[in-house]
């Protein structure tokens, strides 16, 4: 376990933006006094005229980004997760997702945030966004991506720059283990089967994908064959891969660093209940807020919310008996 290679999502995001900026002069980047942290400042150094730091004013950030997009720019607006969907859902809804003309649904704004979920750690519950998937998923025209590692972030930054319309992409604060190969392709609306299995499925997003893989390895040692799917595209979600998993493995455990109400687990449950109903268990914050935890204590914080590989494995075993 300790041999995992770690990657920093924000660094990859910042690097990709600079590369994109070189290729496409229509890319503009906006920040709200967190540009060093989000690693977008490097874009600002390279392209100062296309970089706007609007100060601690997130509603303004989002709406200025919308205006730039209406005039033909591709806007990347970034700050911490707690301040984007949490603080300005109205502006995201009305200034970005709602305005549509002809085939163009919503404006071309990419909301890329960092510090999603409990792993924010020390800053505490006020800064641990556990509701963003639920909020963003409910807004028409908005697509929601929760990448699992820095490789996914790097590739998805390019993908969303090249696809018209609003996206929300959430990154983690801490460095996370790299689980994807450089050659992995990421297609919006498609899940990735990381590990095949026949007894049950673990569908996960974000940093919990790694926990899912660890759980599957544990279960293998107990003779249980477990499929693991990285559902980085929470919306649109890959109905086909989920339905097949239900049909072929008969039970699904979902896993997310988010409230289980309205989040990724809910999205999976909606699909499965309408396609091929099988037992489902949702791992995530159990309708609770987070709290402070220093970096070395984050595993304890996650454990309090049941977001561990051990709990995932236990859930998988329990749910098999319900098949």
């Amino acid at each position: 376990m300790s041999t995992d290679i770690l990657g920093d999502m924000r660094t990859e995001y910042g690097k990709s933006l600079v590369e994109l900026g070189e290729q496409d002069k229509n890319i503009v980047v906006l920040g709200a006094d967190t540009t060093d942290s989000l690693k977008t400042a490097s874009f600002g150094k390279k392209f100062p005229e296309r970089f706007f730091n609007v100060g601690i004013a997130e509603a303004n950030l989002v709406s200025v980004a919308a205006g730039l997009a209406y005039s033909g720019k591709t806007s990347f607006a970034s700050t911490y997760a707690i301040f984007l969907p949490g603080r300005c859902v109205d502006q995201i809804r009305n200034a970005i997702a709602y305005p549509s003309r002809g085939d163009k649904k919503g404006l071309d704004v990419k909301l890329v945030v960092s510090h999603g979920g409990l792993t924010v750690g020390a800053d505490g519950g006020s800064h641990q966004q556990l509701e963003d998937i639920a909020i963003m998923r409910a807004i028409p025209n908005m697509r929601v991506l929760i990448p699992a590692d820095s490789t996914a972030v790097s590739k998805l930054t390019w993908t969303i720059a090249q696809q018209y319309g609003p996206f929300y992409m959430r990154m983690a604060r801490s460095k996370v283990p790299i689980i994807h190969n450089e050659s992995q392709e990421f297609e919006i609306g498609k899940g990735i089967t990381l590990r095949d299995g026949s007894d049950c499925t673990i569908a996960a997003c974000g940093i919990t994908v790694k926990l899912a893989l660890d759980a599957a390895e544990k279960l293998k040692q107990e003779g249980i064959s477990c499929r693991v799917i990285d559902c980085f595209s929470v919306k649109p979600i890959d109905k086909e891969i989920l339905e097949n998993a239900a049909r072929e493995t008969g039970a699904i455990v979902t896993c997310e660093e988010h409230n289980i109400l309205g989040g990724f687990g809910s999205a999976v449950s909606e699909v499965i209940s309408e396609t091929y109903p099988v037992p489902i268990r949702r791992i995530g914050a159990q309708d609770m807020f987070g709290e402070s935890a220093r970096d070395n204590e984050i595993p304890e914080l996650l454990e309090k919310h049941g977001i561990t590989s051990v709990n995932i494995a236990n859930m998988a075993k329990e749910i098999r008996s319900k098949k």
């Binding site: 509603a59 303004n60 709406s63 005039s71 720019k73 502006q91 003309r101």
Partner: protein, 555 residues
């Protein structure tokens, strides 16, 4: 585009009527805030905003962002008048399946912003302005915000951002109508100062108590304050704003919510309510009965005409009547185009130039160059050919066109082909030539007949009564059908021009109220008269209406 004062005014009237048409058909909507910004919209749509109705996404266009999205009828009505869509479409406002949504929406080609949630439009405008700068385009962004809207904290986030980025390709209007949904802004969330009573008028008059401009100045903005119902002031402010480099400009337009329909004016009830269909014909009559006061400066000190112009400005005249006499068409001589050119920089109030000269066709160009907003020539010294020439020159120079007739003259037959596109017809109610004469009584009948005749010929300008108009007869002249009133000795000859102009307005208002009560009676008898009177809940209007109604024997 680039229309003159009169054409803008006519289009503003058309747009106001369409606001009533749309909101009444919908049974809901926001006439109050549509009317307070009506002149702002008029100046943008018909003079300053660059757009192409056939190609709404034309790359070279300016962008109009209606941040106070609830005033969508005020936007859509002007889009209809401009020709984006047929005027009849206004009746689909708020209907299922329409592109004329309750709040402006990109579904409607030509709309640039999905308004509705307040406080977003300024930030969005900044984004558009920055994009234009990045692309090296000379696009101008015009944004209209409500005053209540600026309660939103995001507005001030945006205000700082615009100053930081020195956004000078953006002109913002603050529609300062003093009313938000619940009540007066100064009661709900004061922008100037907290209001304890319902008496707005004291604060309104006292400019030293206005602090809204200071707020914006302290945020690093160039602030221009105007009367938001004066086309000439708005237009001038837009021109000045364009020339300001290095900082954003906000034009604080002091306006009246519900402006132009008395019972809606300054009444918070009309923020978001539609007129009932039974009142629509009366409201239309009221809208068509707007009037203007035009003091004639030759009644003052001819050696200090500059001072007379200043007195007109202080008196808040609608326009300034300039009687040019050449000593040939009339015995007297007054001044010529050179004098007008000297007076022009003193004010933006429209110059109503009345040429009492022979062979006007030879001189009209000089009076255009001097800065006239409208030029009126006498039928007695024109024929079809020479007036046709004058007409063409004036039209192509975007100057209003007027025809004048002497007391013993009627409109000649040749003038009929021009009537529907004339801006003004001056009926001389004295023999022209000097100031201070007595009104010729038969002029009343003449104006009445003329008004009827002009209506049949689709005249949509103003009949101006000129000569001997006083406080005693101005109300009757209005009833006759005159809508502009030249005041010589009765205004300029008085000590306090401001007071006397206000008295003129009150006299005319009384006649207008009478006209509307008669209209109500004609349409629905005493019942409708009383319902109409009951609408007038703000101020003392209702008392006067009841009195008029009693005088007419309707009570």
């Amino acid at each position: 585009m680039g229309l003159n004062y009169y054409q803008i005014k006519k289009n503003v009237l058309k747009a106001r009527k369409l606001v009533i048409k749309g909101t009444t058909a919908a049974g809901s909507g926001h006439p109050g805030g549509s009317f307070s910004m009506a002149e702002i919209m008029g100046c943008l749509f018909y003079k300053h905003l660059r757009y192409d109705i056939k190609n709404p996404e034309w790359d070279g266009r300016d962008k109009l962002i209606l941040s106070k999205g609830h005033a969508s009828p005020g936007l859509f009505s002007n889009m209809a008048v401009s020709g984006y869509f047929d005027e009849s479409k206004m009746e689909t406002l708020r209907q299922f399946g329409t592109t004329l949504q309750g709040h402006p929406d990109l579904k409607c080609p030509g709309v640039e912003f999905c308004g509705g949630s307040l406080g977003i439009g300024l930030s969005y405008s900044i984004g558009n302005a920055l994009a234009a700068r990045l692309d090296g385009k000379d696009t101008r962004i015009f944004t209209v915000m409500g005053d209540g809207e600026t309660d939103e904290g995001q507005v001030w986030e945006a205000a700082m951002t615009a100053a930081k980025y020195k956004i000078d390709n953006l002109t913002v209007f603050l529609d300062r109508n003093f009313i938000q949904q619940d009540s007066y802004t100064e009661k709900i969330m004061p922008l100037d100062e907290h209001l304890e009573s319902d008496e707005l008028s004291e604060m309104w008059k006292d400019a030293s108590r206005w602090k809204t401009g200071d707020k914006w100045r302290s945020f690093g903005w160039n602030v221009i304050e105007v009367d938001g119902h004066r086309i000439e002031q708005i237009s001038n402010a837009i021109t000045r704003a364009k020339s300001i480099k290095g900082l954003p400009t906000i034009i604080i337009a002091r306006t009246i919510k519900g402006k132009a329909v008395e019972h809606m004016e300054d009444n918070p009830q009309w923020h978001g309510k539609a007129a009932k269909p039974e009142f629509v014909p009366i409201i239309e009559e009221e809208l068509e009965s707007q009037f203007m006061i035009s003091p004639s400066i030759i009644a003052g000190d001819m050696t200090h005409l500059e001072n007379e112009v200043k007195r007109c400005v202080d008196g808040r005249a609608d326009y300034i009547h300039l009687d040019v006499m050449d000593g040939q068409f009339v015995p007297n001589t007054t001044f010529d185009n050179e004098k007008i050119k000297e007076l022009r920089p003193l004010t933006v109030i429209p110059f109503d130039t009345h040429l009492m000269i022979n062979e006007p066709v030879k001189h009209v160009k000089d009076y255009i160059d001097a800065g006239s907003d409208i030029i009126t020539v006498h039928t007695e010294v024109c024929d079809e050919s020479s007036f046709g020439e004058i007409y063409d020159i004036l039209k192509s120079s975007q100057v209003g066109v007027g025809l004048a007739i002497n007391p013993d003259t009627d409109l000649p037959t040749w003038s009929e082909k021009f009537i529907s596109s004339l801006d003004q017809i001056i009926v001389m109610s004295v023999v022209p030539g000097k100031s201070g004469q007595t009104f010729i009584e038969s002029s009343h009948e003449k104006i009445q007949k003329l008004a009827q005749n002009l209506k049949e010929h689709k005249f949509d300008g103003y009949i101006e009564a000129d000569g001997g108009v006083t406080l005693d007869n101005v109300g009757a002249c209005f009833t006759d059908g005159a809508r502009a009133f030249v005041g010589g000795s009765a205004i300029i000859g008085q000590n306090d021009v401001r007071v006397v102009i206000r008295e003129f307005r009150n006299k005319i208002l009384r006649s207008r109220r009478k006209l509307l009560i008669q209209k109500a009676n004609e349409l629905g008898g005493t019942d409708l008269v009383n319902k109409w009177i009951d609408l007038h809940v703000v101020g003392k209007k209702k008392d006067e209406l009841l009195q008029i109604s009693q005088e007419l024997g309707y009570q």
